[in-house]
């Protein structure tokens, strides 16, 4: 297109040896920052189609993405931490399970590769788990609405799925109190849940935020906002580890990482602050919609409908991004208006 013909719009990538449209990199970073900061995940599933469309060399896409996600998650974690949304104790306990799980998952996929079954198995397992997660989210919401109408409300408000309550009753020592999340449970619960999500993440070749966030909410029992912040802390650490291993293989374009991080810095702040003005179920339902669209996109890709798949995923990202930006700005405007009214009343008094 003529408007993208100007040379200044293209930045040379020294490792890949190609020129890439840098505003598109900034936009991808920004969008992933917004969505990742809001949902508490890395967002690798969003970045790859975006990079593919702008002609970024695919050999470097995953490694570059993981490095950028590590940096972006650091920015979001700093912000969430100020809100009190990061349970560091829980994050550290889960980290061991996550790292071990990812290695086991990666070994499983290498075994499948050796027997020639990796492609379709991985994709269909991914679809099944995404379907399960989106079903869980919408079922949870429907049940919570029903309970709310019947007046069945706990200290956390009306809740749909409460599987974590049963799991909290498991009394295998050591029992640990997680102050930020506000519950006590056996340490084995977060370790085993993170091991399971780590195995799935390593098997599917993803960061795991997409799986870990609902696991934190439904199996471990974190309030949604704390699940978002704690998950970002995990993504940050596993992302840095992933960045190191991909950089060792020579699969990271650091210039692209820095450009995307610059966009992500702004996006992550918007996404994170937007959680302040959202109810937990608002975040969960939007997450469910994103997961559902991701699942449909993968199914389309499996049947070789590559363009519709890319259009669906990029369209979903754009709409969810706009929704989150709207939540943040309307919430911030309302807060500043309320603050001004309080100050005016104080002066009048």
């Amino acid at each position: 297109m003529e408007m993208f013909a100007a040379d200044w719009l293209y930045m040379y990538m020294p490792i890949a040896g190609v020129k890439v449209l840098w505003p598109a990199l900034v936009l991808i970073g920004f969008s992933v920052g917004v969505i990742g900061g809001f949902f508490g995940m890395g967002g690798a599933w969003m970045v790859t189609p975006g990079l593919n469309i702008i002609g970024f060399p695919m050999a470097f896409a995953i490694g570059t993405d993981i490095a950028h996600i590590a940096g972006k998650s650091m920015i979001s974690t700093i912000r969430h931490s100020k809100f009190g949304n990061v349970d560091y104790k829980l994050g550290m306990v889960m980290l061991v399970g996550t790292m071990v799980g990812i290695e086991i998952g990666a070994q499983l996929v290498m075994w499948l590769e050796r027997i020639g079954l990796v492609g379709s198995v991985v994709r269909w397992v991914y679809v099944v788990f995404l379907a399960l997660i989106s079903w869980m989210v919408f079922y949870d919401y429907a049940k919570a609405v029903k309970k709310s109408k019947m007046g069945d409300v706990t200290d956390r408000g009306a809740e749909g799925i409460t599987w974590y309550k049963t799991l909290h009753r498991i009394n295998i020592p050591p029992m640990v109190h997680f102050k930020a999340s506000g519950f006590t449970c056996s340490a084995w619960l977060p370790i085993l849940v993170s091991l399971a999500t780590g195995i799935l993440a390593g098997f599917l070749g993803i960061g795991g935020g997409l799986l870990r966030m609902p696991a934190l909410v439904y199996l471990i029992g974190c309030p949604t906002h704390i699940a978002v912040g704690t998950d970002l802390f995990e993504v940050m650490i596993s992302g840095l580890y992933g960045a190191f291993t991909f950089a060792l293989k020579g699969r990271i374009e650091l210039v692209a990482v820095f450009v995307m991080l610059t966009g992500a810095a702004i996006g992550a702040q918007i996404g994170t602050v937007a959680t302040k003005y959202s109810k937990g179920y608002g975040i969960r339902v939007a997450f469910g919609i994103a997961v559902l669209c991701c699942m449909i996109s993968i199914i389309l890709k499996q049947f070789k409908y590559d363009m519709p798949s890319a259009i669906l995923i990029l369209g979903t990202i754009s709409l969810i991004c706009l929704y989150i930006i709207k939540v943040m700005f309307t919430g911030a405007a309302a807060e500043l208006r309320a603050k001004k009214n309080r100050e005016n009343k104080a002066h009048a008094a």
């Binding site: 040379y12 020294p14 490792i15 890949a16 040896g17 050999a59 490095a67 950028h68 590590a70 940096g71 972006k72 998650s73 650091m74 920015i75 974690t77 700093i78 912000r79 100020k82 809100f83 009190g84 949304n85 990666a106 070994q107 290498m110 590769e113 709310s148 408000g157 009306a158 809740e159 309030p223 949604t224 906002h225 840095l240 960045a243 190191f244 291993t245 950089a247 060792l248 293989k249 020579g250 699969r251 990271i252 650091l254 990482v257 820095f258 991080l261 610059t262 992500a264 810095a265 992550a268 702040q269 602050v273 959680t275 302040k276 109810k279 937990g280 179920y281 911030a332 500043l336 603050k339």
Partner: protein, 99 residues
């Protein structure tokens, strides 16, 4: 003596021949693509240094990649935190309302 030397040589050659096979069996997904950064077309001194490092020392390159990503992430986080604090919003507390 000569027979022993022949046996030792045969063992040594077979070990050298077996090494690639061992590495292949031990390795995970093989990285088939070998990329070499073309430093001839890079004008910037810093970019040329990192491109050279990429070609000659992958471990140091990986270490720098992680350190620089973490440092830049921290710097942007602190900077955006500072800029956002100037907006007048309360960025230290929130209410958890699930439903």
């Amino acid at each position: 003596m000569r027979r022993n030397m022949k046996r030792i040589m045969a063992l040594a050659v077979s070990m050298v021949a077996a090494l690639p096979a061992l590495a292949h069996a031990a390795a995970g997904k093989a990285a088939d693509l070998v990329v070499v950064a073309d430093t001839r077309v890079i004008d910037s001194g810093i970019l040329r240094y990192f491109a050279d490092l990429y070609n000659t020392n992958p471990t140091m390159n990986a270490t720098w990649a992680v350190i620089l990503t973490a440092v830049y992430g921290c710097f942007l986080g602190v900077l955006m935190d500072f800029l956002l604090s100037r907006t007048g919003l309360d960025l230290t507390s929130r209410k958890i309302v699930e439903h």
